[in-house]
Symmetry: D2
Subunit: 371 residues, 4 copies
């Protein structure tokens, strides 16, 4: 289960960064769903290295093969095997790190766990593992779009110390975000982010960043009240992305500094629906969707692979001045955008099916209480 996620819409990823292939199996996708494979390929393109001068130059077409689970383009309700062959492997790049533990990387912790380690670029800890997540998220997106109309959109909110203006609720679109390779809808901030990245790269350095995400049209009632809150499953999903260090919903840490009278939100009817005045809760109350836009944020640390000599030790106990070569990103946030979306989609697809199982939603057995 270490590599599986979800309870009913269940994804298992496989593959090492420089092994034969990476990919995922999606088990539990409802039958009869028409799959647009090109759309999934486009999601992979958004995550792919080599897209712009500001990301890793590894050249991978990341061409998707769907090996099972479809007949005549429609899902059969059986496991969907999604696979991408690794092509541009340069294990030689990694020879120097076979014995040394790279600072900030999972080299030592992985080896402490397993007693051995795939030294070719991080193995399972590599961002390349997220290909399977993005492909699986593509299936989830098509399911949620067809059945419910849910829309999930993520974007870069800050890179290093450069922030951006917060978009109004409901205003953001994928077009605005994909206009820039940095995936930030605030044009002016984008150019400052680019400067910061160029400068960091010039100094052989890297930058952290924050990715924000909204999920629109999630029906009120999705989620669970105790351990499997939508809130907690989203937290798990997003904190499982490599380099994630923090997670917030709604006002997040700012809520901790607020009074109840500030944070509470009036309830009212608008267009025949139960609504809140300000969606302070970010669409989640008691772990269950309120019907408002779900709003979350994820903090990513700066990439650990920097072009500077660092102090470390080797497996055999020697001290070492390490200079890492290889092909790396100066900031993970832009390429993390499709991964954040994918993880949110996987959580929502799973909770869609869980809600349907428990209540029969949207059938007659689940009478929502609102007038």
């Amino acid at each position: 289960m270490a590599s599986s996620f979800g309870h009913l819409f269940r994804v298992t990823t496989f593959g090492e960064s420089h092994g034969e292939a990476v990919g995922a199996i999606v088990d539990g996708c409802p039958p009869g769903l028409e799959i647009d494979a090109n759309a999934i390929q486009s999601e992979l393109a958004r995550r792919r290295p080599g897209q712009s001068p500001l990301v890793s130059p590894r050249v991978e077409p990341d061409e998707l093969e769907i090996l099972s689970g479809l007949f005549n383009g429609r899902t059969l309700g059986s496991p969907i095997c999604l696979q991408v062959r690794n092509l541009d492997c340069k294990p030689a790049d990694y020879e120097t790190i076979e014995d040394a533990y790279r600072p900030g990387h999972a080299d030592y912790s992985t080896e402490a766990k397993l007693g051995l380690r795939d030294p070719r670029g991080g193995g399972r800890a590599s961002a390349r593992e997220t290909i399977g997540r993005v492909a699986a998220g593509g299936i989830a997106r098509q399911l949620l779009t067809r059945d419910v109309g849910v829309e999930v959109i993520a974007w870069v909110e800050s890179i290093g110390k450069v922030g951006s203006s917060r978009p109004d609720q409901g205003s953001i679109s994928r077009e605005m975000i994909d206009a820039s390779a940095l995936r930030c809808p605030d044009e002016e901030a984008c150019s400052r982010m680019e400067e910061a990245l160029v400068e960091a790269r010039e100094h052989g350095d890297s930058l952290g960043g924050v990715v924000a995400c909204v999920a629109k049209a999630v029906p009120a009632g999705w989620g669970e009240p105790v351990f499997d809150k939508l809130t907690s499953d989203l937290a798990k999903a997003l904190m499982s992305i490599p380099a994630a260090r923090g997670f917030e919903v709604g006002e997040g840490f700012a809520a901790a500094a607020m009074n109840g009278s500030e944070h509470n939100d009036s309830m009212l009817f608008r267009d025949g629906k139960v609504r809140t005045a300000r969606n302070i809760a970010g669409g989640l109350s008691g772990g269950i969707a309120t019907g408002e836009e779900i709003r979350i944020r994820v903090a990513f640390k700066p990439p650990s692979s920097i072009a500077r000599t660092q102090e470390t030790i080797t497996r055999t106990g020697a001290e070492k001045h390490l200079l890492i070569s290889g092909r790396h990103d100066p900031c993970v946030a832009p390429r993390a955008v499709p991964v954040v979306e994918a993880m949110v989609l996987l959580v929502l697809a799973d909770h869609y099916l869980r809600h349907r199982a428990l209540t029969g939603w949207p059938g007659p057995m689940a009478g929502p209480a609102a007038p």
Copy 2:
């Protein structure tokens, strides 16, 4: 599974806030562990309402009964049923809210989910559900202490806008924390927090807060590299606590504003162990424990039950000015401290068994790589 947590050390909580009883079943606890029931009762006492003038005055002795899983005080490897009867139920307090949705509460989202709702104080969404978590966490603590020597300590870091000084790594102890009913080890900050709480209460208001937690002596290697990272399971565990709005590990959101050269941490040997110079990663790298102190933070929003008239609507569509009575906390952070510890302990106990299953740790099959 909605009310279960953990894969091998598995807890299922049950009970509504004003039902007959609340509690938990712990399945998967190793056999032969001597259980100190008084120690678990003490954990419950730290969580209990009515401890001080600054928490809810509901009077509940929260007396623990252990109904199964033990013989002569030792675990049998079978499910341990931990149960507390509810005594001080005042359903009358809740009559006025039977039809109205309380702002900031899960009333509406719960009803949208289920088509009905237990109006007696929040049902499963009540903080009373956490009794089962704390009791189960007490079992986890005794297992981890005996087998591994792990220690988990949480404390209040801030209440509203009042922060406290950050304790040095390794310096904090439970005695320091329990010295104050606010569970903050910084005495000076404590008195300012108390003032802030008294003031908030006088204004019929409530405050948010941040709880910090460290886990000491977690062996390097515990955790998983992909979805079930220790990081992501901790995030899920802590974001499942009522009122949690944010989660951080290590530098958290601050890491997103840092350069790689600042955030990276040298590796070195100290006392024959692989260590990092500064434990910037907060004890978790690639989702796996590094052997350093694990450091996390959780943000809690201010309680939604405030003594002010609020605007809301009823199930039948009427607008309503709602004044909530009942017995409530002005800030959840102090009583959340034992709940945070419990959730961290449950995650660690589960990953202890998972690590043992996968690698045979600490037996001969799992040779950690460090010299």
Copy 3:
């Protein structure tokens, strides 16, 4: 999970034979279901010891308490805690066996597993553990009756070498079965079974038996095609009952001696439905329900507690002539009848929710193909 069953309709039993209490938690039961607690109490009465001279004389009222999950008699969608206190514990009966391993019992295997053992009557291996199953099965039955009209009926088919005539498909009813304490609908066979039991008891011996079970009105399409076949989940469920030694569906082992041309079954329309001519498959094809009556059989070995001296050894290595006292059944089959029903009901309730999750059944998303 060792004590949990089911994926969506999930039951966890707890309690040792002579501990404080036994029971179960049902998690995942849909909300809004009216629960008839008396009906569940009646199920327990059918399983209870002391019902007739032919079963164990232990006196237990087995009075059910429902501690959570209900409000005003309806399910809340939250865990339902079902509990029965143990009253007639006579641990003294078991003193002689504290050190000796009873032949045919799980004493040695349990101790080999756990390093210790609850010597009071078998602990978790006791048939008393099945109280939680029967209570949980009672919830499942009420769900399946209300939502789908499924009916599950089990009966004793043979005791020792005494068989009974096979009832015609569709003809059997609970009234016919409960007419005799032996739970066999064939009156004439009943009296021969009774004679066999009296004779066995006179010789200080016990008898095996076979329980048959049908599930009526299970909709075509329930089940899964690979590992989680309805067939395999039923097999697991029934082989988990203490003393079960064999399981069959449809023609069972007899099918292995048949030709394809005998075993194949024509398909046809009857009353507008897709049917088979003879339901040879026992209602299950490829692990999925065909819409016909599901027909299964379970073999139970004779109880191991017999009133004869047996050869065994003790924990400390001594040989011992053991004479077991205590209160035991001469044949488990009659009291196994409600347990068999409960396990089948638990499997069906789980697959009902799984089918609903995957396909939206019976909603518009799942269009069965038949005309």
Copy 4:
């Protein structure tokens, strides 16, 4: 989860009979295990069609590719993707059955479930799905052999009405079984089985069969006492194989006709070990291994694809006389032998890790009680 099996050693199979590929992902295999890929290829060869004139003539080399989870031939503790491309697909063979429901097949039940169906040879219901099981079982076998010395051997016990003599406990070996393409170690019976098969085929008919299996050297203590008994997990595993109709452990259904005094088994010491005199229980007591040879049997129905005209109906409601072409086995038992072994191995590998997780076995924490 519909296509996953196991809790810690977890297998997910994928692929349709005539899709691009079939295979499995094994997640949870301990790290550092040297994998002999040729040995796994040999397991597949035993399951392969076209081996002899008595099995399906479909020509598939079933060449295994391992796409992930290994580095330098050793497991990394990460998911192992095992894959076989489908080559000899003849979808044209299946055109006539696209609309008609084949008697005895899962065509109708599958379509009733999913609202659609892969008509190319049964999709997931095809025996081709078992390739993933056999490959995964090959990994399990290598783990169990290295760590524990467990050996699992299955053979054909009967075909149609032709039985064979029961081998003495402990005497059977894989060489004896593989001496005949029918996988029956009783040479004399083999030639009668062959005659029966030739005769059946001449009449356009097919035959059922029984496969027996033993697991040697399973340590006392493996298994769980309640739902996840080794007994019940084996039952589930084996009843999930296509065409399985019955399952027995130890004396099976014969036990139901026995007296307790016959079925009980003395306990004694032999060679310093706790043993039973006759291993009547088939190595399983209370669901937990006794340390004796585990003995089980599985009944398979005759294949439904026979070369005779059968009566059926089509999706659109017409009656049809159906003559099935395609390439089929006259009896599944011989090719089921490696599948039975694989499923038993998967159950044992899973319970090995579960036992290790719960008790630390074979480390110091799990002191078995026997002297």
